[in-house]
Symmetry: C2
Subunit: 342 residues, 2 copies
Amino acid sequence: MKLSERKEKILASIVEYYIATGEPVGSKTLLEHSSLSVSSATVRNEMAELSALGFIEQPHTSSGRVPSQLGYRYYVDNLMNSYELPAQEKRLIESRILSASGEPQQILEQAGQVLAEITNCAVVSTTPCDEHAVIRRVELVPIGTRTAMMIMLSSSGILKSKVCKLDCELSLDIIELFYNVVSKNFIGKSAEEVSVAMIQTLALSLGSKSLAVSPLLITLSDLAQMTEQTQLLLQGQSNLLNYTDYGNAYEIMEFLRRSDPLTSFFSSKKNANAPRILIGKENQFRELQDSSVIFSNYNVSGKESGTLGLIGPTRIDYARLIPSLKYLTEIVGNIMSDTLED
Amino acid sequence: MKLSERKEKILASIVEYYIATGEPVGSKTLLEHSSLSVSSATVRNEMAELSALGFIEQPHTSSGRVPSQLGYRYYVDNLMNSYELPAQEKRLIESRILSASGEPQQILEQAGQVLAEITNCAVVSTTPCDEHAVIRRVELVPIGTRTAMMIMLSSSGILKSKVCKLDCELSLDIIELFYNVVSKNFIGKSAEEVSVAMIQTLALSLGSKSLAVSPLLITLSDLAQMTEQTQLLLQGQSNLLNYTDYGNAYEIMEFLRRSDPLTSFFSSKKNANAPRILIGKENQFRELQDSSVIFSNYNVSGKESGTLGLIGPTRIDYARLIPSLKYLTEIVGNIMSDTLED
DNA sequence: AGTTAGCACTCGGGCAAACAGAGTGCTAAC
DNA sequence: GTTAGCACTCTGTTTGCCCGAGTGCTAACT
């Protein structure tokens, strides 16, 4: 549906004024804050039609208008002029992120913090996940006579470690055997390929040494699982309190804590290089249906690997925040790619 | 100050009833919920005296009484009968924590989650910090021709890693040189000893190889810093919404985000093997003065290393939560010690 | 046909008055 | 020292009221 130019102007004014102030906007206030040169009565007529079309609604019979979900959608799709991020702000963001060390988790943490500050929204991000990631390197660092720390590095740059306790002494030949087994059977394999069954048959084939090596193999498989799992990072939760009521804020927090639904949602929404915007009920999660969710993927080495997302009110400042989010995902992707690149 | 037995009974009843219900308790309700066999008038008289002494107070002139800070303090110090955690709950806690892998961070995370669930409080915990910790092991894992991941393990079991980019190719002899330098100059040293100055003089002494090795040394010193820093872990923040108002919840969240004050506060309060309880204004942080803070240290290998803490309302259920917290710190300490032990 | 002025109408927010209920402190008797 | 009784106080809630903002409609105007 295409609105007349004047209706579009009015809708844009309503959306922008409401986003800026949070106050429902009446015909008079609208005139004061727009360049329209018609009377308030005309505006009222137009508003009545916009109401009928479902683009705006009234909190109560005699209050100003507020954009409806559909109104925001129309605004985002047709009216919003996405402005370019000023170079100064770009540099500010960049400098804060570059200070983080090279680990994905830390880069995300830093990026999330910056994002939470500049957007005043809750920030969710997922650690990079590359379905085609393979085990790149495994190291075993003895830290006692029968304990060792195993470290796994995946091709997507994820580093995980876990302590492994053995039933017997960790002798040099066991270590050597382990490394042999690893390089023959695990390096270059993806996490899914490291199944329990595979570990078991492998352990059996080792014969007498099996007893000593199998705890190591189990740890290895644990690590493979951990590497594959995307984690959800939450930041700026306090910002939720700025826009929702008590109960909803609590619900959202609890929802975010059960990170699984969002994680799988994000990972199902790849193949989009532009930020996605879900306004109100456009998302499937009851707890978030009074909020808007904006999320965008970051690319590591050209592949979409993780997501940065914002959760804010439906009257979130789309025009300002979308470019910020977009820029941040770019930066995050670049830095992570840098780390991996030779 | 020692109260009469009857006053103690009345105070205990008030505290317990108020903790249980959140309702101010009047003379009549008190009688219904205690074993006293006197009339309400007598209770009123006693209450008036308790009021005068400052142990209880009235929200408004004609409402029931509520324990004052002093009242809670007296209760905690003299009246509370700390009950033993039922074996069943112990086992439940244990099973959930044992499922965590061996890294301190993950153990804490798991423990924090359990704690948040059973207490309905916000949980803060600090990663283990041993001032006498020394660098135990450094590993350099090449992940590209000019990038490597450096991994540092401290004697207190902390594992940190950072990616390091070199200006030139990471040749075998550079790696060897690096390991030599490390084992000669860093292993067994504490983080404080790894100063920038020390790195610089060391780099100079390497002559022509300095250029190649110094990025590695800088990364090493970064890692040493990271190892030394205690991190603050936050969980169950949503529980804050259950007891404070909006503004205060926001303030507490922001306060917790600026983790430094609490971290240094906790680390200054070691040398106590029992849980500590700070009621209301007994703590020094304005944001927390409407709350109670209960915290307890966990010991790794016999040394106090980190803290688990609860933040909740002043009407928190002291009698129930203190044993839970205590048990959890014991468990956490034990598991972490296990990991380190040979 | 589109625009405008004018007007009656509606509804929420704020404010005061009225009210019910819980709990107190005090007094006088036991 | 304890108790019964009673007047008093204070809060939270409900009710009614008014004010203001904003609407929709009608009739006139261009």
